[in-house]
């Protein structure tokens, strides 16, 4: 297995595979973070998560064309504007969906699954009708392309670095928001005891709406970031949904730290296996391992042992 490579090659392999794994890790965290909030904190199974991501991607696409045509001077910075708008658009749609749909279903988690699946079909068709069935190519500013050579054989992708940076910022932001802010305290209060939270004067409906919106907004940012590495089409969102759910469940739904740990272990397993096996088998083995571990340890990686 290693015989084909020289020692120097091997060390480069490990460095670059480590970096590839790190990018995959960031991608997974970004995908799963919004869902971890929605599923982990609220118990809602949002099957339309991928479509919220794609909304962010489409917003980025529209931004890129807008800047190209009207503000070419600022094109190199458009991506930041696009990410902010993606957050707002997906978040706003999320709040609308919460108001119209989700709030009626808090006691029926399996029904949220069906309803949001229906929503995902509607969104897909909406994208198809409005923007068209073809995939759209998102132009990136030149500074985000290419890679930085570290040594002769080791190069670091700029957009990979960018994804890692975005993930870090968003994750820290969410952690601070949930564990340090007043709004976070309210979220946690509502999620742990709804009626008590209501009794102490927290507007639980509002908290629900903003929480759902937050989760969807983060999905929008993820979608925006993914235009750098993936495809943007009406059905692209479906590519992500199984992976995303597995990451959240594997991490132990209620814990952000768990989601991160789970994204880390899954991404490292997958990128390592991918290097030594074929891509399909790597994927199958990774998913199988996750499912098998979940069967043995259904509470996921990081769940506190609690009194039932």
């Amino acid at each position: 297995m290693f015989g084909d490579y020289s020692l120097a090659d091997l060390s480069s392999i490990f460095v670059m595979q480590g970096f590839a794994g790190l990018i995959l890790f960031s991608v997974y965290v970004l995908m799963a973070l919004g869902l971890a909030i929605i599923f982990g904190q609220m118990g809602v199974i949002n099957m339309a998560h991928g479509e919220f991501m794609i909304l962010g991607a489409y917003v980025t696409y529209l931004c890129s064309t807008f800047f190209q045509e009207h503000l070419p001077a600022l094109f190199s910075a458009y991506f930041f504007v696009a990410m902010a708008l993606a957050f707002l658009a997906s978040g706003a749609l999320g709040m609308l969906v919460e108001w119209a749909l989700i709030r009626h279903l808090y006691k029926r988690p399996l029904d949220t699954l069906l309803a949001t699946w229906g929503l995902s079909l509607i969104l897909q068709q909406a994208y198809r009708s409005i923007i068209g069935p073809r995939e759209v190519g998102v132009e990136l500013p030149t500074w985000m392309m290419g890679s930085i050579p570290v040594t002769d054989s080791i190069e670091v992708q700029i957009n990979g670095l960018f994804v890692i940076a975005v993930t870090t910022v968003i994750t820290l932001g969410v952690a601070v928001l949930i564990y340090r802010s007043r709004f976070g305290a309210q979220i946690r209060a509502v999620m742990s005891n709804r009626s008590m939270a209501g009794a102490v004067g927290i507007d639980t409906e509002k908290v629900d709406r903003y929480t759902f919106g937050l989760g969807c907004g983060i999905a929008g940012i993820a979608g925006s970031a993914f235009t750098m590495i993936g495809s943007t089409g009406p059905t692209s969102g479906q590519l992500y949904i199984v992976d995303t759910f597995l990451i959240v469940v594997f991490g132990g739904a209620a814990s952000l730290l768990g989601t991160i740990a789970s994204a880390f272990s899954i991404s490292q397993t997958q990128s390592t296996l991918e290097f030594f096996l074929s891509g399909s088998m790597a994927k199958v083995l990774t998913l199988l391992a996750v499912v098998a571990i979940l069967m043995l340890r259904p509470q996921g990686l990081f769940t506190l042992k609690v009194r039932r």
Binding site: W117, I241, V290, L294
Partner: protein, 398 residues
Amino acid sequence: MTSPKTSPEKSSLQSLSKAVTVNDNPFMKPIEWVSLLLLAGVILVVLPLVLDGFRLNLVGKYLTYAFVALGLVICWGYAGILSLGQGVFFGLGGYCMAMYLKLEASSVENTKIQSTPGIPDFMDWNQITSLPWFWQPFHSLPLTLLLVIAVPVAFAFIISVAMFKRRVGGTYFAIITQAIAAILTILIVGQQGYTGGINGITDLRTLHGWDIRTDSAKVILYFVNGGLLLGCILMAQYVKKSKLGRILVAMREKEDRVRFSGYSVAGFKVFAFCLAAAFAAVGGAMFTLQVGFMSPSFVGIVPSIEMVIYAAVGGRMSLFGAVWGTLLVNFAKTSFSESFPDLWLFGLGALFIAVVLAFPNGLAGLWREHVEPRLFRKAKGLAPTPTPVLPAHGAPAE
């Protein structure tokens, strides 16, 4: 403890039960006989008379999905286990059947242009020179018929024992079954030398020498399919009416209470899941026979979730509703997508949402609320039981 200890007061109460007749538990209530006859009449008489061969074959195809929906009524409606991987069992049943048919179609004679005659064409394309061991049993028809059921049920058994013994339930179960569907799809597509890959197993011709592609064969298969479906409904009805059916409902509501009444909850869930898998497998096998091929596109997540909506539209607690729901959604799909292909997904999406928000009891609920009362105003003799009151959270006892 298998029999109760009798207590001293018992004798004084002996006569009491004789006066009470209402808690009789007949196999089917009159209204259920009416529903059954109605369904049987439509499937076995009306549709074959009204539809041409092409449309009838289509209905036959839809009815194979109804097996899955029927299983979901037991497993989801009654036992509260939502599986998003029913396509796995539909597919496994279908693949088992397809493997037999493919071997028959790949006789040495038919495949003499191949470098290895006598094996399925796709194996030959993938440089496989002898039939893999797991294809061997499918030379035999009786063994195939057994495996059509046994393979999916064994798979369901392994999954469900592993998960229910560890009390994985609800949303987690749904997500894990969905992941299993994804894994199996990737596996089937990737191992194309053994499975036919993304194209599936196609060009199936004869069943034990009988050409299944002829129009007369299609009609016969349609009736076999309809008969099997009615048989499965009766089987499901038996389960529903047995104490097991009530235990499933009880479990869905108060799992702990059932456990502390001395039942092994996991065992009952495993049974419900395996039964649903068996139904799905029969549907898959009938699908293969009627449509003439099987492909991984039935195993994945999308068809699996679509099959859930059939059960939901029919009414997740209604066996007959499952069949009507399947027919309705598929007719809608066919006619909508013929005239307004763009609108179809909007319609399907809206259907999902409406069924959850506005009609949690589906067609069966509408029937019970609007049709039955009128029916019985006219024919009072038919209705010895009052219409059950629908609970707020949408889980009626049928």
